[in-house]
Structures are given as structure tokens and as C-alpha cells.
């Protein structure tokens, strides 16, 4: 499968701060990729380099096989972006906010209604952006980003500070876009969001990629304790090492019909991140 994004040994230095250090990443066409890390890890810097807003100090970043420092109209027309701020015209209506971009991208105005329907903002079409709630604004930003049906969508903290119901709607929309063939590159510090949504993730800490792969594989690899937790019918639990010695004990619990549920106690991305870096994702 071809890669939509390739980052090779990219470093970025701001004065005396090394924001990114020899980052290597691949994002295949059509996948949802998550860059996970706490604030200041270098997530937004990575997006800025990938979208040509910043130049890397060293290394090469490519989208659609083109160096991001040489992006042209052709590549930009294939990219959609939700940046770390809304950038909406607050005095204009939802429709007017979108019609401008429809003119810029030379898109039929009818498509605005379809996109607003998709993000469930049809009822707010005449409302000014300033009167929208934070969640609605974020959906309008998303509508603007997907208005021209981009092949590659960058989402910088798309659900940050948003209520769970709106976040859920945004997740659904992202899945829908992926199913239509859009590659999604999102940054987040929400490990549940990353686990649920991403095909692959990279854990970024202080500008260094400390882990890379699918969320399941990463959690499995770091399941050093290899334990099993059994929940009994009386709601009590017991955690046992998953080995031959305990197989007999577990089998006895089943024979005695005591077991309500059994599951492996793999670490989540948060615990993996803490294990690797000594700091929390939040």
C-alpha cells in the first residue's frame, strides 16, 4: 500500500528547544493515524511541518510523495485541516463561512448543504459562528475541512475540550470519511480516542517517537506481567499470572461455576506511555 505521509529523520529546533528529534513515521493511504503525546510533545509542530507551515531543521517530510517544503496548489487542494484553533469568521453565518471556501476551491454551492447535513449543522445554517457552542464550532470547522473532499485530513486535537456527545459525533464522521477513502492524521492526548479510532499510532514524548504500531499491538507488547483477572459471581476479583501453574486453579474455578468473567489485564496506552517516559499523557 502506498504511503500518504512519510517522515524521514525529521528534526525541528526552535532556538534552544529541540521540538522534534529524528522522527520517522509512515501513514498508509486510507488509514486513521494518531500522533499521541502530552502537551508540548511536538504534535502540532509535526502537523505544521507536514502542511508546509514550518520547515524542518533537518530530515525530509513528504505527503503524496512530495516534499512538504515544495507543496503546490495541487497538493493543497487534496488536503483538509482542522488546526489547533477554529479560525472562523465569527460575524458570518455558517453558510457564509463555507461559501467563501466553496469559491476558493471552485465547488458547487449545493455541496455546502450536504456537508452541513453531514456534520448535523443544517439547522444552524443561518446562525453566526459567534453564536455557536464550542462543539458546534468544531463541527463547522470540520465541515470546512472536508468541504472539498480532501484525500488527506489533518486533525489537530479535534475533540479537545468538547463534550462526549459531540466528540462521539466527530468520531463517527471521521470513521465515515475513512470509509470513503480519506487518510486521517490526528493528534490527541486522549488515549481512549486513539485506541478506539486509530489503525496505527505513534507515541511522542519531548519530540521523540517512543513507540509506533497499532494500539492493540503496542499494548500487547508491553503486557510484561501477562496477568489474567477473574471476576466471580459474588463480584469479587482475583488477578493471576497467566502461566501453566495457574491453569489448574482457573480450570477449578470454572468447574465450580464461580466465574462470571475473565479477561487479560493488558496495559492501556496511558500505562504504556508512563512506562516508557515516566510521565502521563495528559
Amino acid at each position: 500500500m502506498e504511503n500518504a505521509i512519510e517522515i524521514n529523520n525529521v528534526s525541528k529546533q526552535f532556538d534552544d528547544v529541540l521540538a522534534l528529534s529524528k522522527v520517522n513515521l509512515r501513514v498508509a493511504n486510507g488509514e486513521i493515524f494518531g500522533l499521541l503525546g502530552p502537551s508540548g510533545a511536538g504534535k502540532t509542530t509535526t502537523i505544521k511541518i507536514l502542511t508546509g507551515q514550518l520547515k524542518a531543521t533537518s530530515g525530509v517530510a513528504k505527503i503524496f510523495n512530495k516534499n512538504t517544503e515544495e507543496l503546490t496548489d495541487k497538493e493543497y487542494s487534496k488536503i483538509g485541516m482542522v488546526l489547533d484553533y477554529p479560525g472562523l469568521y465569527e460575524r458570518l453565518s455558517c453558510y457564509d463561512n463555507l461559501i467563501m471556501f466553496a469559491q476558493i476551491y471552485n465547488i458547487d454551492k449545493k455541496h455546502i448543504y450536504e456537508v452541513l447535513e453531514k456534520v448535523q449543522l443544517s439547522d444552524a445554517i443561518k446562525k453566526t459562528a459567534s453564536s455557536l457552542s464550542k462543539g458546534m464550532k468544531q463541527r463547522l470547522v470540520l465541515a470546512r475541512a472536508v468541504l472539498h473532499s480532501p484525500e488527506l485530513l489533518f486533525l489537530d486535537e479535534p475533540t479537545s475540550g468538547i463534550d462526549p456527545a459531540t466528540a462521539e459525533k466527530i468520531h463517527e464522521l471521521i470513521f465515515e470519511l475513512r470509509n470513503e477513502g480519506t487518510t486521517v492524521f490526528l493528534t490527541t492526548h486522549n488515549m481512549e480516542e486513539a485506541t478506539r479510532m486509530c489503525d496505527n499510532i505513534a507515541l511522542l514524548n519531548k519530540g521523540v517517537v517512543v513507540e509506533y504500531g497499532s494500539p492493540e499491538d503496542i499494548c500487547r507488547q508491553h503486557n510484561k506481567e501477562n496477568k489474567i483477572t477473574i471476576t466471580f459471581r459474588d463480584k469479587s476479583t482475583v488477578t493471576l499470572k497467566n502461566n501453566k501453574e495457574n491453569a489448574g486453579i482457573i480450570s477449578r474455578y470454572f468447574e465450580e461455576d464461580k466465574v462470571l468473567a475473565i479477561h487479560s489485564s493488558e496495559p492501556n496506552l496511558e500505562t504504556v506511555f508512563i512506562e516508557l517516559t515516566g510521565r502521563s499523557l495528559k
Binding site: T51, Q53, T72, D73, Y76, S77, M81, L83, Y85, P86, G87, L88, Y89, E90, R91, L92, D96, M100, F101, Q103, I104, Y105, N106, T128, R144
Partner: protein
């Protein structure tokens, strides 16, 4: 990357829609014409002889400088400019779109003075030609301020001071010859002189001063644009 008329017009249309809801634009647009109307009907004619060309001149100087710089600064501050640039709009397309909007606003606003200033039909063309050249100089100054400042907080005082100085200098030059020795090289002085005595002062010398000023501002704008683009 070549300039696109479609994208430039998209910026222009957006600004037109925003103008109806932007209090600053509405206020700046009406400020000097309203003052001019009030003066004309309140003050005796001897007082309005200097005051009306003065208001016209200030309108030509201040409206484009303040609007151009403030619109750019607001877009920088609110991040909308970055979104536009990331959406394939060239910085120059943006500046032309906004500049064209400010030009239209300033021309309409200045045209209102045709009524208060009792310009004879024979001189309407001279009045408009002088006003348009002055407006172009002011738009270039506004664009320069918009390029070098980061937000509305830093733009407001700078554009205010520059617009006030350029707009008020002709008034002081009327009272003080030493000031006039310097101000005669400013476009605002030439515009004022022509508007004040349109029959006598529409000279090649005055128009050359306006042209040279425009050229200087264009060169400054070019170098700053080349260096900074619209980087925030």
C-alpha cells in the same frame, strides 16, 4: 504559483459580507462624511471653507490606512488568515482582495463629499482623480502596517498615529511655513492643497508628489512583503 481571480474575489466577497456586520468599518465609513454634513449645516461658511477639504483629506488618508491595517491584523489575530493561506489562497491574492474592498469603501465614502463640498461639475473628475490617487497611497501604507504588525493591539495605535499625522499635517502647515517646507513632499499635503483650491492647485508638481509617494510606498510594501509575506 499564479494569482487566481476566483480566490481574490472570494476574499473580496467575504469582506463585503463581513462589512455589514463590522461596527468598525461602518463607523469609519460614516465618520468624516457625517462630521462634514454637521459642519456644513452648523458652522458659518467662512469656517467650513477649510474644514470641509480637511475632512475630505482625512477621509482619504485615515479610512484606507485604518481599515486595511485593522482587517489584516484582525485576521492574523483570529487565525482566519492562516486558514485562508492553508486553503491555497496566496498572500498577494488576499492583499489584493482586501485592498480592492478598502478601495471601494474609501471611494464611496469620499464620493459623499461631492455633495457637502459643492464641487462644480467641471471639477468632479479632478476631485475623483486626486481622491483615488490619495486612497491608493493610503491603502499601501495600511498594507505595510498590516504586514509588520502582529495583532490589533499593535496595529491600532500605529495606524492611528500615522493616519493622524498624515491627515493633520496639512492643517498645521497652513499655520506654519516651516512645517509646509517639509509637508509639501507628503501626498496628504498635495491632496489637501488640490481639494482646497481645486481650480488652481491641480498642478503637475502636486500630482508628481502623490505619484512619487505612491511609488515609494509600493517599493517599501514590496520589500516587506517579500521578506514577511503574511507570516504571523
Amino acid at each position: 504559483m499564479s494569482l487566481s481571480l476566483r480566490r481574490t474575489l472570494a476574499v473580496f466577497y467575504k469582506e463585503c459580507k463581513d462589512a455589514t456586520k463590522n461596527k468598525l468599518i461602518i463607523m469609519v465609513f460614516f465618520m468624516f462624511p457625517v462630521l462634514s454634513f454637521l459642519f456644513k449645516y452648523i458652522m458659518p461658511e467662512t469656517e467650513t471653507r477649510v474644514a470641509l477639504p480637511m475632512f475630505t483629506n482625512m477621509n482619504i488618508i485615515m479610512v484606507p490606512i485604518i481599515l486595511m491595517s485593522t482587517i489584516i491584523a484582525e485576521e492574523k489575530e483570529k487565525g482566519t488568515l492562516r486558514v485562508l493561506i492553508m486553503s491555497n489562497v496566496q498572500p498577494m491574492e488576499y492583499l489584493i482582495g482586501i485592498g480592492f474592498f478598502v478601495f471601494i469603501i474609501a471611494v464611496i465614502s469620499t464620493a459623499l463629499f461631492l455633495i457637502t463640498n459643492n464641487i462644480e461639475t467641471t471639477y468632479i473628475f479632478l476631485f475623483l482623480a486626486t481622491s483615488l490617487s490619495g486612497i491608493i497611497c493610503s491603502i499601501l501604507i495600511g498594507a505595510i502596517i498590516g504586514l509588520i504588525t502582529k495583532n490589533q493591539m499593535s496595529t491600532g495605535p500605529l495606524s492611528g498615529i500615522i493616519a493622524m499625522v498624515l491627515g493633520m499635517v496639512p492643517m498645521f502647515a497652513n499655520m506654519n511655513n516651516s512645517i509646509r517646507n517639509y509637508s509639501k513632499y507628503l501626498y496628504s499635503q498635495s491632496v489637501f492643497d488640490i481639494l482646497f483650491r481645486i481650480k488652481d492647485e491641480f498642478t503637475l508638481e502636486k500630482f508628481t508628489v502623490i505619484g512619487v509617494n505612491a511609488l515609494i510606498f509600493l517599493i517599501i510594501f514590496y520589500f516587506i512583503y517579500k521578506r514577511k509575506k503574511l507570516a504571523d
